[in-house]
């Protein structure tokens, strides 16, 4: 058991989602990656909590490597994607294992805006950080975003926009949440090139996040 947990950590650090990834040295293709290893833990009845802890520990190492300059964004994303893949596999087993989720995070690019690179990066990183991410896509109208928040009983919502003409949609999401009486239960985070802290304040959002790392830090601060 210890061996497989160790391998999971190593593969998360290397960002090997599955066996098709060749790893850092380019010669690991065919060897089990995070997805295969996590499936093995289920077969072998290894406690889910232990697997999740190993994922978190590995991500701490990845974060340290990023802070020291050894890792770049693609390395972080690869590791986060590995954790995301692991969480997808583990999800059906979480309730039985009595593992407490960090909460559901609904994320969307607002109506009229089809840009999704930033949103996808944030979604990947949050999944890697242990949030249950519900990515509902791009160009999503206000009603659908609020509907998703209610359906998933989300603790957080992340709204993204790249255009000055679409960022105003963020305000209508917040207004609809208020009119439905759910605003106080949900933290609203906004991001995208044209928005700012001032804009967040103006429309009544809880935080502006300049990038995925800032989003994770903001969420951590909200937990405490």
């Amino acid at each position: 058991m210890e061996e497989i947990i160790k391998e999971i950590k190593e593969n998360v650090i290397m960002g090997r989602v599955d066996s098709s990834d060749e790893g850092f040295d380019g010669n690991m293709e065919g060897k089990p990656g995070v997805s295969e290893l996590v499936r093995d833990t289920i077969k072998e009845d290894i406690p889910v909590k232990q697997v999740i802890d190993s994922l978190s520990e590995a991500m701490v190492v990845v974060g340290q490597k990023y802070d020291s300059g050894e890792y770049l964004i693609p390395d972080m994303l690869a590791s986060a994607e590995s954790v995301g893949a692991a969480m997808d596999i583990l999800e059906p087993h979480l309730i039985d294992a009595d593992v407490e989720s960090k909460g559901v995070f609904v994320i969307a690019t607002v109506k009229g805006d089809l840009h999704d690179i930033g949103k996808n990066i944030v979604a990947t990183m949050l999944k890697g950080a242990g949030y249950e991410v519900k990515d509902i896509g791009t160009g999503i109208n206000t009603e659908k975003i609020v509907e998703a928040i209610e359906r998933y009983d989300a603790k957080f919502v992340g709204l993204s926009a790249l255009l000055t003409t679409t960022m105003i949609e963020m305000q209508s999401v917040i207004e609809l949440m208020e009119s439905k009486g759910i605003r106080s239960k949900v933290k609203v985070l906004i991001g995208g090139a044209p928005v700012s802290s001032e804009f967040a304040k103006k429309i009544g959002a809880d935080a502006y996040c300049k990038d995925a790392f800032h989003a994770i830090d903001t969420l951590k601060a909200m937990e405490t």
Binding site: G26, I73, P74, L77, I117, N120, I121, T124
Partner: protein, 525 residues
């Protein structure tokens, strides 16, 4: 006299091809077509046969005469008019090596210059009189004390042996400097024409593990300089095998005058078979025609005349085709390095050198700006990129020069190093192979079937392949431009290192066998 025959052939044969600086392999982009090259070639041969060159050195005249050139005494100039037939020129071109190896103290820093392979190396030059130091000072806006800036201020210093050592240590550290041409004119008390050469080569070799090159001030110093090179290269055989030093000679005073003094040096260097740059630096508008076809025909004729002499003296002498053509400013008649014509002239010469099968010594990274800044960057970058793109093997003047060739500024050298890093990345040859193209298609399929449709994870494989460029190395972390601060900090860091200094044992040996060196403290950093 040390005769080092077959210098280059020997060096080439003994050289492990893995053991040299990789430079940057480029796919050359021509400026002129084959027909235009032939037109310029024919013009140059015509110039060499009529009016020919005016030669002020008698020994050279006899070499030319024995080689089949017609010679006539010119009483008016106290010289000889030498008319060089095209066949003599082409035989000489044929006899000069198409591949020249330049050695280095550190074997991995050797250079291979192959006229048919566009492997680009960048280096320093010229011999500047002013050494420009940079300090950062804080300035506060007069109308708003809350607004402050940190800006560079400059102080001019005289060139000294110690400053040449400082430059050598710096350039040895900078990754993009491939070779070192002494770039500080040493003006210490105690330096005279008779001991300048040994002090210049010693200061350079003391801190430089890359190839070292300089002109020769005094012919009587030649054997002392070679002895110095032998000691550093650890014996005569080693110097033959690894020619850590070489010479530059500008034997032609444009237009078409082979001067007495430098020609004598060229003959002696060629007799010894030492690698040599045959360089010419006409100024379009004063000592050469300003129009491209006239300038290039003239400088090409001048360089060919010099190469011809070296091959008549000692067939097989390794030479580089040295071109430093520049345009005149029309308001001052000063050299005008920032002129677009400077790039035209130089890139044409690179193509001419390739046509003859002689490695090219070319010029880029020099401009008219007197201090680092926007003008300096623009002038330097355009020529660094364009001349490298033309496929020159050996590009000098590329680091730290300002105010044409009058100033060497260490901080500017650091800025140039960062620019050249970008130039190298821009010029990286495409590697498009079937197998990798198929892998890319598979990658696209894989990403399209993923939830995020992001390629970021797959970048790491490409980083390993070396096809992903680094950001500008001096960029700041904040919102303000911090390039100058970062360059100054980098210089300070380098100056706090000891550098790759020669061992005390070798230094002792040099002081025992090489006369004319200044006291040791002059070389301490």
């Amino acid at each position: 006299m040390h005769r080092l025959n077959n210098f280059t052939e020997k060096a080439g044969n003994n050289m492990n091809d893995e053991n040299f600086r990789s430079g940057t392999l480029v796919v050359p982009i021509p400026r002129i077509n084959e027909e235009q090259i032939k037109t310029l070639h024919n013009s140059s041969l015509e110039i060499l046969s009529d009016p020919g060159i005016l030669c002020f050195n008698e020994e050279a005249v006899s070499f030319f005469q024995r080689g089949g050139c017609s010679v006539e005494s010119s009483k008016q100039d106290n010289a000889w008019t030498v008319k060089i037939p095209g066949k003599v020129v082409m035989d000489a071109v044929e006899s000069s090596p198409s591949r020249v190896v330049l050695g280095a103290r550190e074997p991995a820093n050797r250079l291979i210059l192959d006229s048919q392979v566009s492997r680009i190396y960048f280096g320093t030059g010229s011999e500047t009189n002013i050494f420009l130091e940079t300090e950062l000072a804080d300035f506060v806006a007069k109308n708003n004390p809350n607004i402050s800036f940190r800006l560079p201020v400059y102080k001019e210093r005289r060139g000294t042996v110690r400053r040449l050592c400082d430059s050598a240590r710096l350039c040895d550290t900078l990754n993009n400097v491939d070779f070192f041409i002494r770039n500080v004119n040493v003006q210490d008390e105690g330096i005279s024409s008779s001991n300048k050469d040994v002090n210049v080569f010693f200061a350079s070799l003391l801190y430089m593990t890359k190839h070292v090159q300089a002109g020769l001030v005094d012919l009587s110093s030649l054997d002392d300089v070679l002895r110095l090179g032998e000691i550093v290269a650890d014996g005569l055989y080693s110097l033959q095998d690894n020619p850590i030093i070489s010479f530059i000679a500008c034997l032609i005073k444009s237009p078409l005058q082979m001067v007495e003094d430098t020609t004598r040096k060229v003959i002696e260097i060629a007799k010894r078979g030492i690698p040599l740059v045959i360089s010419s630096s006409p100024q379009g508008g004063s000592t050469a025609p300003i129009q491209e076809e006239g300038m290039v025909a003239l400088i090409n004729a001048e360089v060919l005349a010099g190469i011809t002499l070296t091959q008549l003296v000692n067939p097989g002498t390794p030479v580089l085709y040295g071109s430093v053509p520049v345009r005149a400013r029309l308001d001052t008649l000063h050299d005008f390095y920032g002129a677009p014509e400077f790039i035209h002239y130089n890139t044409d010469c690179v193509q001419m050198a390739r046509f003859y099968g002689v490695p090219s010594y070319s010029t880029a990274g020099v401009g008219d700006s007197k201090v680092p800044g926007i003008q300096a960057t623009v002038e330097k970058l355009f020529s660094q990129l364009a001349v490298a793109q033309s496929g020159a093997q050996y590009i000098h003047y590329a680091f730290g020069l300002l105010d044409r060739t009058n100033v060497f500024c260490p901080v500017q050298a650091i800025l140039d190093d960062a620019n050249i890093s970008l130039v190298r990345q821009i010029l990286r040859s495409p590697v498009i192979e079937k197998e990798m193209a198929e892998a890319s298609v598979n990658e696209i399929r894989k990403v399209m079937s993923s939830s995020t449709r992001l390629f970021a994870r797959h970048i790491r494989r490409q980083i390993r392949r070396g096809v992903v460029s680094e950001p500008y190395t001096l960029e700041g972390k904040g919102d303000q431009d911090e390039v100058m601060q970062n360059a100054c900090a980098k210089l300070e860091k380098i100056r706090n290192t000891a550098g790759n200094r020669l061992s005390e044992e070798i230094i002792d040996k040099i002081y025992m066998k090489v006369p004319g060196l200044l006291q040791r403290e002059n070389f301490e950093l």
